[in-house]
Symmetry: C2
Subunit: 103 residues, 2 copies
Amino acid sequence: MSKTIATFGEQIRLLREEETLSLREVAEQIGIDTSLLGKIERNDRQATKEQIKLIAKFFKLDEKELLKEFISDQIAYKILKEEADLDTLKVAEMKIEYLKSKK
Amino acid sequence: MSKTIATFGEQIRLLREEETLSLREVAEQIGIDTSLLGKIERNDRQATKEQIKLIAKFFKLDEKELLKEFISDQIAYKILKEEADLDTLKVAEMKIEYLKSKK
DNA sequence: CTATCAAGGACAATGTTTGTCCAAAGGTAA
DNA sequence: TTACCTTTGGACAAACATTGTCCTTGATAG
């Protein structure tokens, strides 16, 4: 996976375009609807876990890394949507430690 | 709001207990079901924006701060549930900057 | 024209969340 | 004990959100 910061969808679009494949070609291979893949690339629809697995497999990506891209996307969109400020993430981090520590 | 790290629900439970009020008393005041408030305190149910506003008002808290507690909770629970690692938050932070910068 | 492609609208099916009511468990006081 | 009050948590319909699919549009290329 490239070091470039880009959303989940943008990243897979870039990968697809690098190989000059159409949405249909990729969608068919991984067994999902062409339109759905397009939406996923535009961050218009969220991929499911299963779809992420298939996409990782298709592009030979590490599934765990791709999942991290996916989850960090969701968090980023949430912060933007709620117009929460950045230190919300710091608070979240402390809470994670706290919740882990209390079994 | 206290500096102690605790979940959203724990924080409001502490506030309620500090004033020795029952769930029913508080729930009635803010106009929600007693059982629902109990669940919110136990993080068994998520409060809605409207409920957060009412709770903030009742306990004389800054609504924005309380909302931050709420959102950071959601993020923390998400990370734990997905078993994502902590640096997912760093990636999210970079994506927020990225998304903000691209208009 | 005719293909192929991507964008995006619409919509039923499916899933998730919400509020509410009820019952049970625990405490306390008379 | 009985009576009362609190909290917990199950169940469930109603409300809401997401998913997959299909169809139309518009753009580009041959």
